[in-house]
């Protein structure tokens, strides 16, 4: 293998690990919501436990990229790709953290009957997860058009979020004895909204990678 081939091999391996990390984080987010819906404390505990692997993989990717930057002095697209890899890894690690937060709320809620607003949070989940999965595909294909479309979906998530919060506030007035669950569901909807924001961040990073310029897709 020539030196350039070795470098590309390392670059591709880091990218493959980033895809693995993304899959792990998105699966954790899905699983945390399933645990909430099914009121399955064991599944919630598994999500919390699994976050260690996500964190470890993010650190591993970072170390690998830092070593490549230190040893190979990459420039132009190579350099952008490495910087973007670190940033996207950080976004995905954060999504994993939201999954943990949701799992913790799930444990707190235990077997209390869930409020009906959970249905809208599930809609948010579907959108956020779809955005995250598609943005990773767009990333692999370096498809900025697709990335822009994904970022546009964020408006729907934000709308749903506003709606969920309004309804939860309303429910608070009607059911003062359930304030604790209302607060927990408000947090969970916030985590979903933030997860979708990270999908938008990743779309922006893809623009930076492909075009070398910064774009704000989250207006």
């Amino acid at each position: 293998m020539s030196l350039r081939e070795k470098f590309e091999f390392e670059l591709n391996s880091a990218q493959e690990q980033l895809i693995d990390l993304s899959t792990m984080a998105v699966n954790a987010l899905n699983k945390s919501m399933e645990a909430l819906i099914n009121q399955d404390v064991d599944a919630a505990l598994e999500v919390i436990e699994g976050d260690k692997d996500i964190n470890q993989l993010e650190e591993f990717i970072n170390d690998r990229v830092i070593l490549l930057i230190a040893k190979q002095s990459p420039v132009a697209t190579d350099l952008r790709r490495l910087v973007v890899t670190i940033k996207v890894a950080s976004d995905m690690e954060r999504v994993g953290d939201y999954a943990v937060n949701i799992a913790k709320e799930t444990i707190r809620i235990g077997n209390q009957e869930l409020l009906p607003q959970i249905t809208q949070i599930q809609q948010m989940q579907k959108l956020a997860v779809a955005m995250l999965r598609q943005v990773i595909d767009a990333f692999v294909e370096e498809d900025v058009v697709k990335a822009k479309e994904i970022a546009e979906l964020d408006d729907q998530v934000d709308e749903l979020y506003g709606d969920v919060i309004r309804r939860l506030m309303q429910a608070g007035g009607e059911n003062p004895d359930r304030l604790s669950q209302i607060t927990q569901l408000a947090f969970i909807s916030r985590y979903m909204e933030r997860s979708a924001d990270h999908a938008t961040n990743i779309a922006e990073q893809l623009f930076y990678l492909v075009r070398g310029q910064h774009y704000d897709l989250n207006r």
């Binding site: 030196l3 493959e16 693995d20 070593l67 230190a70 040893k71």
Partner: protein, 270 residues
């Protein structure tokens, strides 16, 4: 799914982990040019089939160090040494150690390509002839093998009888590497082998070094820190005749333990 491999430990000798042996071990090596104390208490262990880079600012003793490894430094009058250099376990300063034998095991490539004013063929065949090989067929084989080993065979195979000065500097340097390979050395010392070459020739020599380490142990002095970072397994940082830090190249370039190493590799001095 990804498996995470923990970073290899930088401490301890690699012989423990990979079964590699040390080619060179220096023990409290000191060297003086007259009253100038050029190398101070150098303790280094250099492993086989690795590329070991020596970096440091001008005058830090790095060239002196590698010239000591084949005792070439003794050509300078007024040189005095103390301590030991064990090559494959034997002290090269022992009275009964033959310097010629040492130099057949340890080849050297210099900063500027220095082919003999002879044909390409004769340059590469020079060493084997001195060692008594006369048969044309055997010499032909050695020349081809060495030129292939130095990744230059395809470029010169049709002009072996041309003068070695008729080819480019980058090609001449690879001829010099082929000349070093022709005596089937164990170790190749390289003293800034690419500093006189253009970037493409530099890249070719760097790639060659990567290939050669499968069969040889390579010690390379370089002013080009990125070169050390790209091609070496371990790096020693020399300063004022002392080894400040010696570690895996990955560690030296991502997380050196001595501030002076960090200052040097980040261009704060030197």
């Amino acid at each position: 799914m990804t498996t995470i491999i923990t970073n290899k430990s930088a401490s301890g000798t690699e012989a423990d982990q990979t079964g590699k042996k040390a080619v060179y071990e220096t023990k409290q090596l000191n060297l003086w040019y007259g009253s100038n104390h050029a190398l101070k208490n150098i303790d280094l262990e250099i492993m086989e089939n690795e590329v070991t880079a020596i970096i440091g600012p001008s005058g830090c003793g790095k060239s002196t160090f590698i010239k000591t490894l084949n005792r070439m430094v003794e050509l300078v009058p007024s040189v005095k040494t103390s301590g030991e250099i064990l090559y494959r376990g034997r002290n090269i300063f022992d009275n009964d150690y033959g310097v010629e034998e040492l130099r057949t095991r340890v080849g050297m490539v210099f900063q500027k390509p220095n082919p003999f004013p002879k044909s390409i063929y004769d340059n590469v065949a020079y060493g084997p002839r001195i060692h008594g090989i006369k048969k044309k067929k055997i010499l032909d084989e050695i020349v081809e093998k060495s030129l292939r080993g130095a990744a230059i065979w395809e470029e010169v195979k049709d002009r072996l009888n041309e003068n070695a000065y008729s080819i480019s500097g980058g090609q001449q340097q690879r001829i010099c590497i082929a000349r070093a390979l022709a005596i089937e050395p164990d170790v190749i010392l390289m003293d800034e082998p690419t500093s006189a070459l253009d970037p493409i020739s530099t890249l070719k020599v760097e790639e060659l070094v990567q290939e050669l380490k499968k069969d040889y142990s390579i010690i390379i002095v370089t002013h080009n820190m990125q070169q050390a970072a790209r091609i070496s397994d371990k790096t020693a940082f020399f300063l004022n005749g002392e080894v400040i830090e010696f570690d895996y190249t990955d560690t030296i370039f991502s997380n050196p333990s001595d501030k002076r190493t960090e200052d040097y590799i980040s261009g704060r001095f030197g």
